[in-house]
Symmetry: D2
Subunit: 367 residues, 4 copies
């Protein structure tokens, strides 16, 4: 009940510290018979892997995932799947000062206050390295979704980085995979690159906004009242390191709208109900409508910067912290595949959950 | 596993439909020995109760809460507490049309698609009436918190209603309870009243932004990685009807900031660590810092408006929906006590959870 | 997390004390579209109801169950079902002595030690009255099973009462409902009646062994490793008041057998695999085989007897306890419908759980 | 929700197959600051390890446990502890026949029926090898209990093996660790050895009864109604491979007793309440009394015997199965440390759970 698990049916428990021998995900509840292998999972890990571009940390980790259980002859068996990633780039170094100092904006101080002990090497459990395990589990979720809902696509992309924002009129799905920012607006790309270089030169960091869109999700997924689809998506995204806000559809902007402006009117299409707009982000009353599921979250700028910040030591004495070393000027970039992984896990989870209660039967609409 | 329960240790299961005989909350895991009676709970229900001001629905429900179990001689016994609220204002009427029509922006269509059956009277289970049960449970959480953390205060207030926004420079705690909007900016009050009257006259509705602040929360609460304090707060708020976005501290604005601007520097105060600012909203790495916990959420404008909206019937035929009757032009007003209740439940839950794992022991800082 | 809930998907939370205003069961996760009404549930409550025969307590409780939510127009909607039973026979009396005294063999002392407070009226939460709520929930489980697995039958019966034991050679399904003991051996009946009368005259009580057999359960239900079908059945039965042992199939006797004697050989029948015997009680590796599920549990003799027993008071002083009033000489009799209810809940739960993970798909055997 | 997890607060998820690369336990919710290392855990694994005596399987597995996370500088940190055991003795062999055949009394057939796919090598997930992971987790639970409840002792021993039974008058705690059976009756030892040799020579196997006694457990642990201490102990033991019955205190024999014979009278001792006897097995109303906790379970004889048994193949055709190779004539012997591990986990879990709800406060008895 220390809650390192998420999901109701497709249950993912991540374990491991940044500088321990390994980390991973124990996944229980995966449907049997799903084709999957290490290569399939690795492609998502490679997307998140550090050292890929000049914009991310230069820490070199192959992040090679191993399947230790639950897969037999290329298919899941319905038993727990253990996904392990060994840590290889654990540079030996003097942790003397870090062990005694609380970095501002980090979990150093709260872990110490809560547990009275912490693995201070690289942030220990609170390190963003933990998200590698999420991405591995998300890969498994994608493999299962491929079987259960052919055609479903889950795509994440950046919509804002500090003062840079995409122009939705130029949104292009193809562009996303073609740049280092997972960004859908090709025209804005040069400005983004220049902006981030300045941030880096300024020994600073910057926040980001990521959107994840799930297309092809069937209507009827979600478990009101407290396991609503949007509730679980909000929890999944907020649980990612450094995330401070989550939105579904209109999100916080809904507070500014009137009922007439916000209404998604309903029409009868050929294959079922259709909507005039998607202010709801594809979810009504906690249940999917069949429209695109649209989730957005904000990642704060990392506090690991070269500019000195005031803090205290374990003994209460004042100090200044400068974070040298291998850090991302915009951690939001690598949060894109993590957000996708979380959304994949939640959608699979609700698909399985829905089978439990309704058997997948659906109320018909139409003549 | 239809997930009508929230909380890990302090577990609240709400039940009941808008127009059934009763609704309520089954609360399991409340600490024993907590002084509580119906009058204590009723004060919070009265705050949420409809028909209180000209700005809320005129449905008359006394919303009188009864304690059916778990309290003996004025104190909780540690056994489940059943909190029941009988529905009294169930006007008999012709549901013929409503039964066949899906109101836009409502859960009518998704409940039908998921379950193949729905209690269409007043929205059934998806009605905001369900939040009365949350408020009752929140009252019990407050009673327990009063015992366990004297001095802790949880206060909700509106920060935005459509185009109206508070001026934080004029924020006044005392003002909040003195107006119909639970709003902290007395000077803006006349404008807000005028604005909402226009919305109502325009047969429209409007969204709102609510902030809940918890003061006096001890450091060390939260259960990384997936039951982080902010994760559970996000889930709790997102589970409230009509909520589309949740923020902690800087929230979505964190995406716009640089690391230097966002840093909360740390100092040693007389009673422990103090911070130069609270961009984090009182939570680092999913664990409370001891600062104010600041949560914000956006409530969409209700779709129950007098302006006609296009929709379909069960048989797929097109129709127009006009929602007559007793609806709030700004449902966000009554969401204030609901948000407070959810925050109270989450904080109590994490207080109990923390006792389980750490026994409440804390890492010391200082000489 | 005070764990007044059982079940994974079909989740039953019971609440209420023996002498409070009401008790009941909050059932979450029931499939939608299941036909059910109060009369259907009442038949099972009537089976358990006190005052039915000379062998059970003469406390008069109509035990009328009310459905407060989750059922609309005669069918479940998939939302929580609240089943409430009001307490009517709460005789006012002087609780002065009971409030200060711990009855031997009762939970008085452990509830006091754990919680520091207890509702001493009639045993409060630890009273066997709580099982009325289980029986109501079990009725709902039966209604759902009737829809999902036509032909499935769950029948409980006594196999032992103190020194009296049934002769399995005379086992007759029809006899069970025709006697006050729910006993399948008509020839032994006069001896059982005489025996229990002597127990009663001797101001004593006696234990019992109950068996519950579920016929028509499909193969493939169960969730290894820790939610095995037998694991959950054992937990469900052990959670019933006064139960001290649980057996599946051969049960404790398996310790005496050799591998050759215990083997259930497998044959190919017309409709699938068949077995030469059922030592396993219908469960292999935690998963149902399609054979009869056979569960047995022992109920200890109630400590509420007229023969004085030594005990202590709250202040530690010695005392003697004689339990006057309305108690059963063999509480095991009324445990029969309770055992049936628990088995019904577990089987439904695993049926729904299995749909979640496998979608109900089954591995084929045969050409 | 495939339920490979047990425990409420101290949550153990085991993973891995008999012949996969590794198996292990992911333990979440361990208190921080508990001293533990691999050597401490290894002692319990060595107790269970095969090939230790002539009475157990000669499969050679070092069963060396590795701690991959959650322990830093010799103490737990409160984050998940990953305990991994690599499989080394995976003899390559032809699985052709085993892959097509269902061994009687094994989970081969039910796993196939449920999942449609199974890892047939060595029983896959249903192999008793999975219990190595339980024993590792149990070692961690013991380490935590050593810190939290000094003096608590958990000891398992065999009380029956087929026709052999201990004489309780000769019960000696010291004897238990001094023989291959973990048996407390030294005088009976030669007979037991001779008996098991005959079973083995007869190409047969035999069942066993194991008792686990926990001494020094404080009063007040247990979470009525469905997470009772006895309920969770029953579930924990029934979840062990091949277990068919579980008893607390008098167990099934309670069905034979009268109320006067079964009563545990209460006295006031120097340190609190004492009891004249322990028919209850240390648990009343699901809560510990402070007496010895006594749990007993029966292990069926393994079906892996050299005597041919009739069965079927995947295609439905009849066959005969003879299990050659490295199997235990009495698997109950190696179930002793497994039973201890499960009891250790349950007691720690309830200790933590109790802290959550009551904060560990206790109702006083005495002047």
């Amino acid at each position: 009940m220390s809650l390192n698990t998420f999901g109701h049916v497709f249950r993912v428990t991540t374990w491991g510290e940044s500088h321990g021998p390994a980390l991973g995900a124990t996944v229980d509840g995966c449907p049997p018979g799903v084709p999957v292998d290490e290569a399939f999972l690795q492609q998502w890990l490679d997307k998140r892997r550090p050292g890929q571009s000049k914009h991310t940390t230069q820490r070199k980790e192959p992040d090679a995932v191993k399947i230790l259980s639950g897969v037999f002859e290329g298919k899941t068996t319905g038993t727990p799947v253990q996904l392990m990633i060994e840590n290889t780039d654990q540079r030996s170094k003097d942790y003397g000062e870090i062990a005694q100092t609380f970095r501002p904006g980090h979990a150093d101080i709260t872990y110490h206050q809560k547990y009275g002990i912490r693995d201070y090497r690289g942030g220990g459990r609170s390190s963003a390295r933990e998200t590698a395990a999420r991405v591995a589990a998300g890969g498994l979720a994608r493999a299962a979704l491929n079987e259960l809902v052919p055609g479903l696509e889950i795509t994440g992309y950046m919509t804002r980085m500090g003062e840079m924002e995409i122009d939705r009129a130029r949104f292009d799905w193809e562009t996303i995979a073609q740049n280092d920012f997972w960004m859908p607006d090709a025209e804005a790309l040069p400005d983004w690159e220049k902006y981030l270089q300045e941030i880096r030169k300024g020994q600073n960091s910057v926040g980001a906004e990521i959107e994840v869109c799930a297309r092809g999700v069937p209507a009827g997924l979600g478990a009101p009242i407290y396991g609503k689809l949007d509730t679980d998506l909000a929890a999944a995204c907020m649980s990612i390191n450094a995330v401070k806000g989550v939105e579904i559809g209109e999100g916080m902007a809904a507070a500014r709208l009137t009922g007439t402006a916000n209404a998604d009117e309903i029409f009868m299409g050929e294959d079922g109900p259709e909507y005039s707009s998607n202010h709801s982000g594809g979810i009504l009353g906690g249940i999917s409508t069949g429209q695109d599921i649209v989730v957005r979250f904000a990642v704060k700028p990392t506090s690991s910067i070269l500019t000195p910040r005031r803090s205290i030591r374990l003994d209460g004495s004042p100090t200044e912290v400068v974070t040298k070393g291998r850090h991302d000027p915009c951690v939001g970039i690598r949060a894109v595949p993590v957000g996708e992984a979380m959304v994949a896990c939640v959608i699979l989870d609700h698909l399985l959950l829905d089978r439990a209660q309704t058997g997948g039967v659906r109320g018909q609409i139409g003549p």
